[in-house]
Structure formats: structure tokens, C-alpha cells
Amino acid sequence: MATVALENLRKSYGKTEVIHGVDIDIADGEFIVIVGPSGCGKSTLLRMVAGLETVTSGEVRINDRAVNDVEPMDRDIAMVFQNYALYPHMSVFDNMAYGLKIAKVPTDEIKKRVDTAAEILQLEPYLTRRPRELSGGQRQRVAMGRAIVRKPAVFLFDEPLSNLDAKLRVQMRLEIKSLQRDLGVTSLYVTHDQVEAMTLADRMIVMNAGVADQIGKPLDVYSDPATEFVAGFIGSPPTNFLQAKRLGRHIEDGAKIGIRPEHIRLVPQTETDLAGTVVYSEPLGAETLVHLKLLDGQDATVRQDGALPIPAEGETCGLSWEPASEMVFGKGGSRIRS
């Protein structure tokens, strides 16, 4: 069990800085998800914690011990890779046992630990098989098993579910979550999938171009995004951004009003001065997504209850929302709070 601290962590390749200083204190047993689009540096950040990338400046501490120059094996971590990285010529048992063998754990202890892990992960019937004889989900489990048997202080997950199909992904997501709860091991989990981030995280780090835009509990991040990027990235369909000037507000040049699709109501055109034409509607059953083109050319999406009438294409509707659900963002994308 361990705490992890990142202090002003930076990474440069040559002269290009890709991580511009990330700070976070991770509590013992906490599940942290690092989420962001491709190329935002989230994997690099994780690999620096793992010790697979060197740290350019700043410090990584595991249990208050600076580990910048410590080899991965001595950091007391275990990592699950995106493509699982199982050793193709070894059986499932040997794959899980390999790290323990190197650490010279006694044979009966190895067997005990692997059997326990196999039981947790329902891998018992497959222990003698080779990885290529397993399905994607089973390989994923073996990769998890390899991490569990080492009893590490920290789990690191690098997009572990992105090679699985949608249904399996949901199932494995739940398994990872409950496993992490049961074992109580501090975890860092990298993903580009915001649903994974929202459902798994105790706290999440939203990365954007090498900067941690926001760190916080998933629901706090959702309801109170710190930047325009976070508001647009977290939540699906994404937040509507409307030019403040076009709405007749004078906040600052280039300011935008962010408003989540579920906070907008469609009303008769006469009740509001903001109106748009329905481009198309997506009835999803429980809810309906209505895509509109506003009269001044901006796009907006409205998410309404599935029971409400679905407007016809080409129909003109008014848009209305509570002033409290507005989020104002300045020209640089940062939130302006009144």
C-alpha cells in the first residue's frame, strides 16, 4: 500500500517539452484515472511513474521515497500494458510467475500466489495454456494476474481495455474496479475513454497538451470544469459553446458560454430570443439528442427526455436554460467565474 506524489513533473524529448509540470498527491488506495486525447502526454506521464521513461525534471515519489533514478523492478509497481505484453512462449502460469521467479520467491510461495490470482481472475482452467490460445479478455486477465501476484504498492494501467470489444470492455471495467477495491492497491490508470474515466476514478486528471487541466472527482470535474477543454472533453455529447457576443453578452473579447446539452430545454420560439432550426434528432429511447443550427449559424445539441415530443426536422425551436447552468470561458479557454 502506498502513496504516490508527482512534483512539478516535466518531460522533454530533445528541446520539445511534452509534459509541462504535473503535480498531484495520490492517497493510499486511491484510484486515479489520467484521461485525455491522443498525444496529450498521459501515457508518458504513466511511464515516468513506472520508470520506463526518464524524468527530465521534477520528482516522482512512491511512499515518500524519490524514485527518479530507481529501476522499474525496484519501484514496487506492476504495470498492465495496452497489448498485454504477455510472453508468447510461456504458459499462463509461467507468465504470471516470471517476475516472482526472478525475485527468487520460493517455488511453493509462487504456486500459492499464482493459484490465488488465477482463482480471483477465473483463470484456473487456463494455467497451462499459451497466451495465443486465449481470447482477448482472458489475455487481459492474465496481464492483470501478472500484476496482482507481485503484490505491488502501485498498479499502473496503460489503456488496458482499448483492445477489447465494447461489451467485454464494460465487463472488464467493472472487474478492474471491484478488484482494485478488494485489493486496496493505489492505482494509476490511463485512458482516452471518458466513460472509463468517469466510472473508474476516485479522482481523475484531465490532460491537455502536456498540462493537467483539472484534477478532481469525476462528478466535480463534470459539473464544474476548469477549462473549456475539460468542458468539451468530459461529457457526451460535448458541451455546447456559444459565442458570448452573439448572445448579446459583453464579457470579454472571444469569450464563450458553455452549456451542457441536458441543461437546454426546447421551448416555443415566442418564449425566447434564441432560436434554431432542427437539423436532425437522434431518439435513443431513454433520451433524445436534438441537433440544431442556430439562426446565427452556430451548432447546438440538446439532450431531452425520451418521453418529450421529438421536433421534426426543419422545425424552428426556441432554446432556454437556467442562468445557473451557464459556464463562461475566456478567450484562452480558462473559466471565468463571476
Partner: protein
Amino acid sequence: MAGQGGMVQKRGSGLWLTHLGLIVGVAFIFFPIWLAFVASTVDQQAIVRPPMPLLPGDKLIENYTRALTSGVNAPVATMLFNSAVMALGISLGKIAISLLSAFAIVYFRFPGRTLFFWLIFLTLMLPVEVRIVPTYEVIANFGMLNSYSGLILPLIASATATFLFRQFFMTVPDELAEAARVDGAGPMRFFFDILLPMSRTNIAALFVILFIYGWNQYLWPLLITTDPEMNTIVMGIKQMFPSGDDTADWPVIMATSILAMVPPVLVVIGMQKLFVRGLVESEK
């Protein structure tokens, strides 16, 4: 797959024509070998008096015993042994060295890494014949004439094998090396526990090619072995040919040729099984 199956399973005249073509081809290639075999089972008179017999005679055991035990210059058994030592030494040595150098080039960043790779690659363009005089000089100065090390060492570095292993190592996912690092495996441990078992099909393929390459060496053994006890079989056959007016002992020479063919054939057949197993298993 169904479409391909249809293509492979040709029916009717097409099938027979294909087989006929193949049978003619096999017969064409095999006929000289058959003649050599026949010649190794009859006596001298039967060979020199035309027409040559096409069916084996009754001197098989006698001729082969004579070849193996006495030969012309040296017993064929000795030459076979010398060839085996040289071929095994060259193929195993080449595999060991090229595995290690490919490992270094792919997995370690050191100054001049690409330079070294290209230097190795460059030697591909220099065949043995081009550097044979300086190599002879070096080996002679080391006192390695008429020795196994002299036969093996100059041929042991291989750009081809290094290149092949480099290409293979580059297809191994980086994550595997990283997973091994997280598991606590040092570089050599990773090499022996993971990289080596994963390369075994490539190693088997190379072994076959290199064994035959080593077995068929002619010029180099001819140059550095003057003692008949150190002769290899491929050069030995040529030395059995008479000079001047001596009569050639054709049955023994032919028996020697057939014997020289056996080990490479055995290696190919033996390794074929490993090939197939490797092809089935090595899917990543």
C-alpha cells in the same frame, strides 16, 4: 479460403499435367545422383566399359567400407568428421555471434550504433574470395593452419544472420522488453528467457542454411589444410581425382560423393519437423 481451396484442388487433366511436370523435373534432378549411387555399387571395370550400368551392382558394402576406412588420401570417415566439426562450428558460432550483435544493435543505445550496424552490413558485400589473401595471412600468423579453429573462425562472423535477427528483434513489441524490465529481468535475462525462445524458428532456419554453407566450403579448407588428416570431405572429393596418368578409383569417389551428401540431407529433414512446428506455434 473456399476460393483458394478450389484453386489448389485442380481436377482432371490439369492435375495430371502438373504431376507429370513435377515428376519429370524430379527425375531430371535426381538422375545424376542415381548414376552416382549406381557407380558407387559396381566395380571399376563396369564403370569404364560403356554403356554405364543403370542398376545397382553387388559391390555396395565393399566400396563403402573401402571409402570409409582407407579412401584415397585420407579415410572418408575422418573427412566426414572434419566437415561435421567445421559445419557445426560455423553454423553454431555464426548463430551465437549474430544473435548477440543483433541484440546489442536493437536493444542498446550506444555511440556509433548505426555506424556499427552499417559496418556489419557492408561486409555483406565482400565475399570470402575477396579477402582470402589477408585472411590467410592472419590465420597463418596465428599458427592456425591445419586446425579446426583455422577452418571455423574466419567464417564465423555473419552479416546476413545479424541482419536477419535484427529484423526479427525489431518486430518484437517494445512492451515485451518493458514488461520484462518491470518484472525485474536484466538485459541478459531478457535475452535468454524471452528473446532466445521466441527466435527459435529463425534459429532453426538459419542453422539449416548455415550448416549447408559450412559443409560446402571448398576454397578455404583447400587453402589452409595441407595435412590429409585435416581435409574436409567436399575438398577431399576433388583431391581424389587422379593427377596425370593414374587411374581414378571411381567407385570409391562416387561412394564418397554419396556419403558427402548424407549429412546435409539429414539436417534438412530433421529440421523440417522443427520448421513446421515452429510455423504452427510462433504466431504472436
